[in-house]
């Protein structure tokens, strides 16, 4: 009987799926075995892709081009890249690790800058800006002019709740407090009151987020069980 690679792959995938799903009923050695297999495969794949897609084109090919007297990068740029790479490789040994500090510091500096820029430009300012839409004034005016006063008030109420939720959530995290010796530090009344309210909104937000993760996991479970069911049907020759 000739087994083609696709069919073997299907069987392997089905067995691995079954083993991992069985962890829901309890830990066992075969699950651990699969776990380590997974760590190995994913590491090997990720590293190979990085070498292939980045290290080769950014470093290896330019060096080869340089050696073949057909430079694709200017020498200074190539020199900096090689220097950084050598520094990073120095991290392999504890004795030389300190030589690599500039390379990791470059990563830290760039990472921090992107985080700062992203937070300010991408989140804080747009989110403040979006508060402008808290009160749906178009709907309010329409309702008011049409004599739907209750609906108009509802629009205002909704806006107040939305703004209050944002403000009280922010206030919940206020860290500063006044020291009271042996007793717990105390925040001022306004902050504490807002924070108390914020606790409810935060709990609701966390519940919404948690339900999102639950539903995502449920989607994955449905897909896996569907896959197992289809594979079983295939093996049994069902239509």
């Amino acid at each position: 009987m000739v087994l083609d690679l696709d069919f073997i792959g299907l069987l392997v995938a089905a067995v691995l799926t079954l083993v991992v799903l069985s962890y829901a009923l309890g830990d066992h050695p075969i699950f651990r075995f699969v776990l380590y297999l997974f760590i190995g495969v994913s590491a090997g794949y990720a590293a190979a892709v990085a070498v292939q897609d980045v290290v080769f084109p950014q470093l290896v090919y330019p060096i080869l081009d340089e050696l073949n007297a057909a430079p694709s990068l200017d020498l200074a740029e190539l020199g900096v890249r090689v220097l950084l790479v050598v520094m990073l490789l120095a991290k392999l040994s504890p004795r030389t690790a300190r030589l690599g500090n500039p390379a990791t510091s470059l990563l830290a500096g760039v990472g921090a800058a992107l985080a700062v820029g992203g937070a300010a430009q991408g989140t804080i300012l747009p989110q403040i800006g979006s508060a402008a839409g808290s009160f749906d004034m178009a709907s309010f005016n329409l309702a008011w002019q049409g004599g739907y006063y209750l609906e108009a008030i509802e629009v205002i109420f909704n806006g107040i709740v939305l703004v209050l939720a944002t403000v009280s959530t922010l206030a919940y995290f206020h860290f500063g407090a006044v020291s009271r010796g042996k007793q717990e530090p105390l925040r001022n009344l306004l902050v504490d009151s807002l924070a108390w309210l914020g606790g409810f909104f935060i709990a609701i937000a966390l519940a919404a987020l948690f339900s999102g993760v639950l539903l995502a996991a449920l989607g994955a479970l449905v897909e896996r069980l569907d896959f197992l069911q289809r594979t079983l049907s295939l093996l049994l020759g069902a239509p």
């Binding site: 690679l5 500090n101 510091s105 990563l107 300010a120 935060i202 709990a203 994955a220 896996r224």
Partner: protein, 206 residues
């Protein structure tokens, strides 16, 4: 004094590179310099994966050598080396690496995600054993309401939940708090990042 004595190069590199990237995000005209620095960082990050590979190999080689769950470490090392070699040699889109990826990595990882459906249901059910405070109670009630309105239950939709209550809870009540949480996390990010950029935090070693 000390950071200047001990980490002048590293701190300077972090401050200059970070400062340049940040400035380029705010001031037009620095794109070329920024992209150059970003490319260096990208190269280093990619190379870091090789160092990660070496670290994994070393940890499990030690275990293998000392017969500490050698079967597990053995399979990890073998899988890692074979996948790395095959993928590098043939290219990630070739048949064998694709086979390994599609029939080993994807099923295991998706199944781990699927297992979370059970473990998170259990975690939610057992949360009140750990905490029964105001926030946890609100969390539990809100979660139940949201789940009831997230779709049809056993095939049947409960319109009061799907169309009225759940949108109010998850869409309306949560929206303001999510905005607050997002802003708060961004604030923390902003200040923590700035500490690194001015050299007050030096996570890159001294």
């Amino acid at each position: 004094m000390n950071w200047r004595v001990h980490t002048p190069v590293a701190a300077a590199v972090a401050i200059v590179s970070g400062g340049l990237v940040l400035a380029s995000l705010l001031i037009p005209g620095l794109d070329e310099a920024r992209n150059r620095v970003l490319n260096w960082a990208i190269l280093l990050a990619a190379l870091g994966l090789l160092l990660g590979l070496a670290n994994l190999f070393r940890v499990h080689w030690e275990k293998l050598r000392n017969r500490q769950n050698p079967a597990y470490s053995g399979v990890l090392i073998a899988a890692m080396l074979v996948t790395f070699a095959v993928t590098l040699w043939e290219g990630s889109r070739a048949e064998l690496p694709s086979w390994i990826f599609n029939n080993i990595q994807v099923p295991i990882e998706t199944s781990l995600m699927a297992v979370l459906a059970a473990s998170l249901t259990l975690a939610a059910a057992r949360m009140f054993q750990k905490r029964s405070d105001r926030i946890s109670l609100t969390f539990g009630i809100a979660l139940f309401i949201i789940l009831l309105g997230s779709g049809p239950l056993f095939g049947m939709e409960i319109p009061f939940f799907t169309r009225t209550l759940t949108p109010i809870v998850s869409g309306f009540l949560a929206a303001g708090a999510l905005r607050g949480l997002l802003i708060g996390v961004a604030l923390g990010t902003l200040l923590t990042g700035l500490r690194v950029l001015v050299g007050a935090d030096r996570p890159y070693g001294g």
